[in-house]
């Protein structure tokens, strides 16, 4: 399984750089080609979904939260956790 994981990471790297050399990279991993193409196709779709700017909270929510945060912004550094 380690081979296909490396091959996927290898192809994703190319895809993330624009995908120009993807065919050449897939040829390098011919044995897994079919699976890689299927997985990379799904990744492309996920990326489109992830860039959907319309998926946003309401303006009212954004405005209210910002106002609250600015009200509560400490004037000196405070101790606090990151949710852990």
């Amino acid at each position: 399984m380690a081979d296909i994981i490396s091959a996927l990471a290898d192809c994703l790297e190319v895809l993330e750089e624009g995908g120009d050399e993807l065919e050449a990279r897939l040829r390098k991993h011919e044995r897994y080609r079919q699976e890689l193409v299927a997985l990379l196709g799904i990744v492309k779709e996920l990326k489109v979904m992830g860039q959907d700017e319309e998926l946003s909270p309401s303006d009212e929510f954004l405005k209210d939260l910002k106002a609250r945060l600015l009200r509560e912004l400490p004037t000196t550094p405070q101790r606090g956790g990151d949710g852990e």
Partner: protein
């Protein structure tokens, strides 16, 4: 040269979108700018904190919505995330990660806490994993392909879903995903493969997925 991923619908869309590499690069550049702004915010500069908020709030909300599939809960967790960030912002500069990744680490902790509370509670949160009231894909305009893929993402277990969302929707690098999840880069790569394989299986079970994925 032919695009090996070109195909109908699912595989062919998104060609005009920026590459993930660009997204990662943008995150890195944003990270450098963030550090300067965070310094100002830590010193109590309201304008600076407001700037960080404006830059990140929509992406945090979107990430949470992808994770919880409930708009009200997504708003609630987004609010909690920024309140925690406000308390802990002076610790950010020592982490050496993009501000967004740091915020998403807070999201993860809040999400895990919330799940623990739910497990301890006999009552199940309405619409958490069951039927959707408002899903990400219907919250904006429903897209048939996206809807199919989203349904499959939603069916993944929590960790796998988070890897998918962090890597491909939030555009984080392996190293940043590893920091957010508290795992090694190698473990993230393995989880990424397993999650994509699980997605493929689920999509193959759907008519639409059979059509798209068989075209490869």
């Amino acid at each position: 040269m032919n695009d090996p991923l070109a195909g109908p619908g699912l595989l062919g869309r998104g060609d005009d979108s920026p590459g993930q590499g660009q997204l990662v690069q943008d995150l890195r550049l944003a990270s450098l700018e963030d550090e300067i702004v965070v310094d100002r915010a830590t010193a109590g500069d309201r304008e600076a904190f407001g700037e960080l908020y404006d830059r990140c709030v929509r992406r945090v909300f979107r990430h949470v919505l992808y994770m919880v599939n409930d708009v009200d809960l997504a708003e609630d967790l987004t609010e909690q995330t920024f309140l925690r960030a406000l308390e802990a912002i002076h610790r950010y500069e020592r982490r050496g990660v993009p501000f967004l990744a740091w915020l998403l680490r807070i999201v993860r902790n809040l999400y895990l806490n919330d799940q623990r509370v739910q497990r301890n509670n006999s009552s199940i949160r309405k619409n958490w994993d069951g039927g959707i009231v408002v899903s990400p894909e219907s919250y904006c305009e429903a897209k048939l392909d996206g809807e199919e893929v989203w349904r499959a993402v939603r069916a993944l277990d929590g960790d796998q879903r988070q890897v998918i969302v962090l890597r491909f929707m939030d555009g984080l690098s392996y190293a940043d995903v590893a920091r957010v999840l508290g795992k090694s880069v190698g473990a993230v790569r393995v989880a990424q493969y397993r999650a994509l394989r699980a997605l493929r299986r689920r999509l193959e079970d759907s008519d639409l997925g059979r059509y798209y994925l068989s075209s490869s």
